[in-house]
């Protein structure tokens, strides 16, 4: 199918984008890479009357270290971030997750902020944003607000974004040098849609886990942190007994969805397996399959 007709605005700067979004309100959608939006438009599941492209706003294509944060603007493409030295150095968890977002062809154009704003229930980046305690920088003509990712995602395909507002940037927590992390996922095809995944980071002090962040996708209607699992591991050595307990705690805490790809029990089981593997490996990648 072809998309329904729409009008296209292509402002040269953020001020122009925000003005266009304010003028068109609910009728407008932001066009960045379009890799989430255009499929829905082609299927006519969405029919925005107005698209406001940010692709001419060079000011939104930045990746910067600011204090303890790594901040990526709305026009940073997924494939660019994947190989960016600052991402590799300060957010290895993000670098490990990015290849899983989809084929190279969509990662070449799709943006990080676009995927976050789209909030697909099985998307990778919301889980990464939760594990890296990201802040979402939301801009509108009325000004800017900054919200933790945990408050940004509401439900499947639903965020707190208001009409006229866009994700201007995402600010991930930079990972400490002695931190370990892993992103693991299973899907019906590698780099296709995910069935379940985990984004995990932790730090050991004197052989005991001093800090842990555990986020999952396919564990509920949207990506979520799993505080019960984090609590089960902190203060303990990462031995087989502790890993078995954290897996139990995680499986008890999640409420995975059932769909054509997998049922809730399968996902609950798989999430536990992935979490255990992640805690055993912690090199950011599948042991066998670094790209």
């Amino acid at each position: 199918m072809k998309p329904a007709p729409f009008a296209l605005a292509q402002p040269d700067d953020l001020a122009g984008v925000l003005a266009a979004l304010a003028r068109h309100g609910e009728a407008a959608r932001v066009l960045a890479g379009g890799q989430s939006l255009v499929p829905l438009m082609n299927l006519r599941l969405v029919r925005p009357a107005m698209l406001v492209s940010i692709n001419r706003c060079a000011e939104l294509a930045f990746t910067e270290r600011r204090g303890d944060r790594l901040v990526l603007g709305a026009l940073v493409r997924q494939a660019e971030a994947e190989t960016h030295p600052l991402v590799r150095a300060h957010c290895p968890l993000l670098a490990a997750a990015l290849p899983w977002l989809g084929p190279q062809a969509t990662r070449n154009r799709g943006t990080l902020c676009g995927s976050l704003a789209h909030a697909d229930p099985l998307a990778e980046l919301p889980a990464v944003a939760l594990a890296l305690e990201a802040d979402m920088l939301l801009a509108s003509q009325a000004g800017e607000r900054r919200l933790p990712a945990s408050e940004f995602f509401q439900d499947a395909l639903t965020t707190v974004l208001r009409p006229g507002e866009m994700v201007r940037a995402v600010a991930f927590q930079a990972q400490a040098g002695d931190e370990r992390s892993a992103f693991l996922e299973i899907g019906n095809r590698e780099h296709g849609f995910a069935v379940a995944g985990v984004a995990v980071r932790w730090r050991l002090e004197a052989e005991r886990c001093a800090f842990a962040r555990i986020a999952m996708l396919g564990a509920g209607p949207v990506a979520c942190r799993v505080p019960a699992a984090e609590a089960a591991i902190v203060g303990r050595p990462l031995d087989a007994g502790a890993i078995a307990e954290v897996v139990e705690a995680a499986r008890a805490a999640v409420a995975p969805p059932t769909d054509v790809h997998a049922d809730a029990d399968y996902r609950r089981h798989a999430l536990g397996v992935l979490l255990a593997r992640a805690l055993r490996q912690g090199d950011g990648q599948w042991a066998s399959g670094s790209r």
Binding site: M1, F6, A7, L31, G34, A105, R109, R291
Partner: protein, 163 residues
């Protein structure tokens, strides 16, 4: 609405100027307005890879891009891969020799995907090849010969010989 947008873009090294409706997809522009029918349409939702082209040197799904937003872009399609009408590119040669196509519907997308893969990684492992191709769908071949063809093409390109 109904308003047309003027764009200038380069397709297969030729400058093209067009007045387009905002909703015109790149794949439809290539096929219907330029007659470049080598780029195929499968799913129209980014899933099958039949419509893969190079956009500013990197693979892109041409069913997921609006021409109106591509002013100044460089597009390369499968028509611009062979060095001449009589000769095949080593990647095409390898697909031919290794029986990596049957109906050929998916082939242009695989060729464009392989171009990008081998440009970035001239000697990819079997895993790297399978990963690069995993989101291009072929309903005929069962993929084994496609992987063989990409392996052979990599070798041919490295050695500067025919696949």
């Amino acid at each position: 609405m109904g308003e047309r947008i003027e764009v200038t873009l380069t397709v297969n090294q030729r400058k093209r100027r067009a007045q387009v409706e905002p909703r015109l997809l790149l794949v439809d522009y290539l096929r219907h307005e330029l007659g470049l029918k080598g780029t195929h349409v499968g799913c129209e939702q980014g899933a099958c890879g039949a419509c893969t082209v190079l956009l500013d040197g990197r693979t892109a799904r041409s069913c997921l891009h609006f021409v109106a937003a591509l002013d100044g872009a460089q597009i390369r399609t499968v028509e611009d891969v062979a060095p001449s009408p009589e000769l095949l590119h080593p990647i095409q040669q390898a697909f031919h020799r290794q029986h990596a196509l049957q109906c050929g519907y998916c082939t242009p997308g695989f060729v464009m995907t392989t171009l990008e893969l081998l440009a970035g990684n001239p000697d990819p492992s079997q895993t790297a090849i399978r990963r690069a191709l995993t989101n291009n769908l072929c309903r005929c071949t069962g993929y084994a010969n496609i992987v063989k063809a990409v392996t052979a093409a990599g070798k041919a390109l490295r050695e500067g010989s025919q696949a």
